[in-house]
Symmetry: C2
């Protein structure tokens, strides 16, 4: 993890320098609280690496990196309400620690603060283009979240629909992070487009892996209970594929369980047995690998540099992650 | 109301031309639903009038006007959840018609769409300045909303604190609307500043009036139940002033009632009697008039034009409103 320390050091320092006013506490304390919980800072790191990859100065890109991290945290604040998630990174979620109203408002405030960060970039940066790419990315995240909600009551979600959902919900902000890095470094449009494709593949791989880890990870390392997604009846890649290929009887049984959430421990284990019976974890693994490969291949087209090697290492690190 | 028809016609047409995608329905249907409910469109009208006042072309300012209306509706979506308001403009609130998660997400989507609208303005407009003023306005709205929430459990809110709360919650977006109109018309900084002061005074007057109408309006015209704010224990100007000047015994009685919301009909009437006893509605009226005067005086400094006369009429119309 040494290779990312230089990036995270810069990012943490920049986040600490965000001088949120002390009052109103109801608005700013929850923003400080969620920013201080130990996120992996993957997205701002990607902004800095993409900027470096395009010959930009890493420090110059910092406001954009922080903007992306603020947007990520804004989505977490609101998602945790929508998903009724009681904890996040080992701490109580904001809507639990405070209340739903405070979490909604703090999220709105973070969205605003994120967009304001972009004002701090140099005049030479194409501010309008940067805003467009960022906002379209955020809207794509909203679309993905909406699809995820719609899938909740459906048993016939296809693998393609699933992929289009995570392309928004998870991958759109990772895609935007890389594009934004390119735009800040004033890279040509074609290069920014390639960065976007790299980011999209990386984000899709990352989400399929998340779905997988829910079942195969060591709960202690992953920080979440095994089968949490199953318990909540989430339409993960594993669930979607299983519903598609299991017998009518199994499908009926699954439908019954999914309509009566949360699933109990015995049922979760039975679902995992179904995954094993149909080789679903292997097919998830294989799809995940395809997307990681695609990301690596996109990166291979860039000129050699320290940033390129760092991004290669980051992709390898993410691919091997067990949490 | 003839004098505003030319503005609202343009605005309604522009809103109808917003081509929200048909899918995901969960994201876009609630956005369409709230935009189609009959809002007064005061804020976008102000954008157009301010632009005209500064010599700008009204049609050119339309994307900015729609952006402000989208932000206003975004705040309504989220505020209705926070305030547990079940209806809005005679229709079920989005979080009631759908659910809380959908209303949060639709609000986030509208925020994003609002910011994207600004991309459609001509290249000559100072896009960066426009974004800054807009975003700072939105953040000020969030601060006001946070203060309002903090006031809920306090009995010692001062009139100054109340004014600073509504300067954010209600007036900040009205202020931003006028500033934005000026910026789109490429008005000098000094003029935009004057427009901001005009808007801030107008917004504060508007909110004090809203507080007043809760008590004095004909419920049929106002569209809300008489004493709704009292029932919810809101720290309106009237309540804040009364808590400040009533006897210790009355204060204790009020404190008891406010800690046990919603207040019942008999208690609401008793609170209104307190307002009458201490001449609170008169002092609210007088403060409201001061702010309306201040707005009119700011406007008087502008060169004569049709837009100026329209804005004068709008201020008069708002001042006389009974709903």
């Amino acid at each position: 993890m040494d290779f990312i320390t230089s990036y995270t050091d810069l990012i943490e320092k920049e986040i600490q320098s965000l001088a949120f006013p002390s009052s109103p506490e109801t608005l700013y304390n929850p923003q400080r609280y969620i920013l201080e919980s130990n996120g992996k800072r993957i997205r701002p790191i990607l902004v800095l690496m993409a900027s470096g990859l395009c010959g930009g100065d890493t420090k110059t890109a910092l406001p954009a990196a922080v903007a992306v991290e603020l947007i990520h945290n804004f989505t977490l604040l609101h998602d945790d309400i929508m998903d009724q998630a009681e904890s996040r990174r080992g701490k109580a979620s904001v809507h639990i620690r405070w209340n739903v109203a405070t979490a909604i408002l703090a999220g709105d405030g973070m969205f605003t603060q994120a967009m304001l960060q972009l004002q701090r970039l140099p005049e030479t940066v194409n501010y309008k283009l940067l805003n467009r790419v960022f906002l379209e990315g955020i809207n794509h995240v909203c679309e993905g979240q909406a699809l995820d909600m719609e899938f909740e009551n459906r048993l016939d979600v296809t693998a393609d629909e699933y992929l289009s959902m995570i392309a928004g919900k998870t991958a759109a902000l990772i895609k935007a992070s890389l594009q934004i890095g390119g735009i800040v470094a004033e890279a040509p449009e074609e290069v920014t487009k390639q960065l976007g494709e790299l980011g999209s593949s990386l984000g899709i791989a990352f989400q399929i892996q998340d779905d997988l880890l829910d079942v195969v990870a060591d709960p202690e390392k992953f920080g979440k209970k095994r089968g949490g997604d199953i318990s909540e009846g989430k339409k993960t890649f594993l669930m979607v594929k299983t519903l598609d290929c299991c017998t009518a009887g199994e499908r009926e049984w699954l439908a019954g369980k999914l309509s009566n959430k949360p699933l109990l421990q015995d049922d979760i284990l039975e679902v995992i047995e179904l995954y094993e019976k149909y080789g679903i974890t292997e097919s998830a693994q294989s799809l995940m690998n395809q997307y990681y490969e695609r990301a690596s291949n996109m990166l291979a087209g860039f000129e050699d540099s320290n940033y390129k090697r760092d991004l290669e290492q980051l992709i390898t690190y993410l691919r091997k992650r067990e949490f």
